[in-house]
C-alpha cells in the first residue's frame, strides 16, 4: 500500500513565530550554531493507489494553503 509523506511549510517570506520561539529556546540551551528554525507539518497519507495528480490536488484543495504555505511530497511504494 503506497504511503505518501506530505510536508507543508510556511512560505519563507512569512514570519514563523513558532519557529522563532523554538530557535530562541535552542539557543538558550547552548546550541549557539542555530541560526533559524522553521516549523511545518508532516501529513502521512495511506493510499490504496498513488496518482501524483491526485495527491497534488489534495494538497491544493485542502492540505496546504497556497496563500501562505509551500508543500512537497515523497512516496513510499
Amino acid at each position: 500500500m503506497p504511503s505518501v509523506r506530505v510536508f507543508v511549510t510556511l512560505k519563507p517570506s512569512l514570519l514563523d513565530s513558532a519557529g522563532r520561539t523554538v530557535a530562541d529556546a535552542l539557543q538558550k540551551l547552548g546550541f549557539d550554531e542555530v541560526q533559524g528554525v522553521r516549523m511545518g507539518k508532516l501529513i502521512v497519507l495511506d493510499l490504496d493507489r498513488f496518482e501524483e495528480s491526485q495527491v497534488r490536488s489534495m494538497c491544493e484543495k485542502l492540505l496546504a494553503n497556497p496563500v501562505i504555505e509551500d508543500y512537497r511530497f515523497e512516496v513510499d511504494e
Binding site: L14, L15, S17, K61, L62, N65, V67
Partner: protein
Amino acid sequence: MRVAVPQFWGSNCDQDALHSLRDDLGVQASYVWYEETSLASFDGVFIPGGFSYGDYLRCGAIAARAPVMDAIRDMAQAGAPILGVCNGFQILCEAGLLPGALLRNESQRFNCRDVFVRAAQQDSLWTRGIEGVLRLPIAHMDGRYVCDAETLRELRAEHRIAYVYCTREGRLDPTANPNGSLLNVAGILNVKGNVLGMMPHPERATRKSFGYEDGLRVLSAFTRANIAV
C-alpha cells in the same frame, strides 16, 4: 432582514452572535447547520467565532469546505451582507471569499482583551457612518493578517481595509497592534464590499450592561443593508 448564523463543530460564539442580532440589534436570526445547502430564506450571514474542527490543519480550513459555504458563496456573489468574526474571518479567508490569511499572533500568545479600532474608510456598507474610535474585545491566537504585496496594493487602492487597530485616541501606531497584522489590519472587505471579516468581536459589545455597545454600530450594517444593497 433575516440573518443566518452557521454552526460548525467547534463554533463557540454562535449564541453570542444570535442573541446580539436578535435581542440587541432587533433583526431575525437563526442557526443553520453546516450541512445545509440552501440559505434561500435568509438575507445575510454572520459566521461566528470559535475553534471550528479544533483548528486542525489550519484555523478555519475544514469549515471553509463545509456544504453551507457554497450557499454562503452564492449569497456573497449576490451582494448580501456577510460578516465573519474571529474564526469566521479565518473561515472566509480559507474559503477564498476574502484574500490573505491569518497566522499565529506574533507574540505566540492567545490574546484576550479589549482593543481600539477605527474604520479606515467610511464608504462601504460595513463602515458607513462609523466615525471615531470603537472599543471591542479580541480573543484569539491566530489573528496576524498577512497577504502578498500585490493583494495589499489592491486592498489599499480599492479601500478594502475596513478596520484598523489604533490607540485610544485613534492613532495608527504599531503599539496598538495586538497580533502583528500587516498595517494594523483588523478587518477587510471583499471586492464588492458586502463581505467583512474582522478579528474583534462586535457581538460581545452590544449592551450597556456589558460595559460597551460599540459593536452594535458594526452590526447595524445588517439593518442598513435592507436599503443599501
